[in-house]
Symmetry: C2
Subunit: 203 residues, 2 copies
């Protein structure tokens, strides 16, 4: 899809192009909330955004392309890790952040759409990987600080700890499709912590 390369490095990035993109991404999110990824049609997005259908096809090519662009937009918004002073507090903050995000109507629909898009489009899959890589890297800092403070053993794989906290939440969200509650988040934190303290995350 070299349509997306155009999105990234537009030849003429001035006012109108940017306005159109903003309107289209906004409309995409609205449609995702209402109909989900599978119900996302280029036609409706164009109409909702008040732009020509041709334009949407030209620049994004497919529903997956729309979601991919939305994803890169979200990826650019940094979410720095919490610093509550203890690794337990930091991991809890992370787990609750995921919990709130997937339960929020707007963000939750977008997250699910991102995952659905990744199952049918390689570009979307790459964007999703990049998105989570960045998120995990940002939060890994909290684990590294904990190691320095002596809360966790030396050699603990920081990124794996962060992944381990959210894995059960996404497992419920995507695979078993059970509710992702704060209680589930807390249990995930405690289990991950127990394993980490026991040295199970040493590379």
């Amino acid at each position: 899809m070299e349509q997306l390369s155009r999105v990234a490095g537009t030849v003429r990035p001035g006012g109108r192009t940017a306005r159109v993109r903003a309107a289209v991404l906004q409309a995409t999110q609205d449609e995702l909330v209402e109909h989900g990824f599978h119900g996302l049609t280029m036609d409706q997005v164009a109409a909702a955004a008040g732009v020509g259908k041709t334009t949407v096809y030209r620049r994004w090519g497919s529903p997956a392309g729309l979601v991919t662009d939305l994803m890169t937009e979200l990826a650019d918004q940094s979410s720095p890790h919490a610093d509550t002073g203890s690794i337990e507090g930091d991991l809890r903050a992370n787990a609750l952040a995921v919990c709130e995000a997937v339960n929020d109507g707007r963000l939750g629909a977008t997250f699910q759409a991102m995952i659905a898009a990744a199952t049918c489009d390689e570009q979307a899959a790459n964007a999703l990987r990049a998105f989570y890589r960045r998120r995990v890297e940002e939060w890994a800092g909290a684990v590294e600080l904990a190691v320095e403070r002596g809360e966790l053993p030396k050699g603990t794989d920081a990124m794996e700890v962060i992944r381990a906290v959210s894995a059960p939440l996404y497992y419920r969200l995507v695979v078993t499709r059970e509710p992702v509650t704060p209680e589930v988040a807390e249990r995930s934190v405690q289990r991950t912590l127990a394993a980490a303290r026991a040295g199970a995350f040493i590379a």
Copy 2:
């Protein structure tokens, strides 16, 4: 979808109907391997199965319906838990089974399709939940035996332990789309075990 209720409790379940169903499910799996869930068209399935297109629409209604029926078929095939004598061996057997399943061309494609179908169809989501509930229940027995043997503390939530072992694997498969290797499986086993031994799975 009362089409599916017909599949389950067919009025005339004799030879032809069963033959058609077998041929269609077979063709569905073939198509999934080749094109994935999003490339699954009723038309091609009908052609590959050598049955009328009308029949496929009548009985299954949509690609999601096809995958849902395939899922119930797989759910009926029991996969009794291993009994290696130690909880570590049993959990390892479970993790490796998941690992092999998702990496197997045929089964892996079906698993991914099941998850994709669940994201866009409520019936499929229910079938997926039922599928995993059954699988988890069967393997929970291994954990209960381990508790009786004294390998894990009393009160350990058996089903949660099984879920915890596979969560990181599915997380990689669906969310970050990284390879699911035997090494990843082993790490998941060790971390889950460490947490379980520390009592983090006591309800």
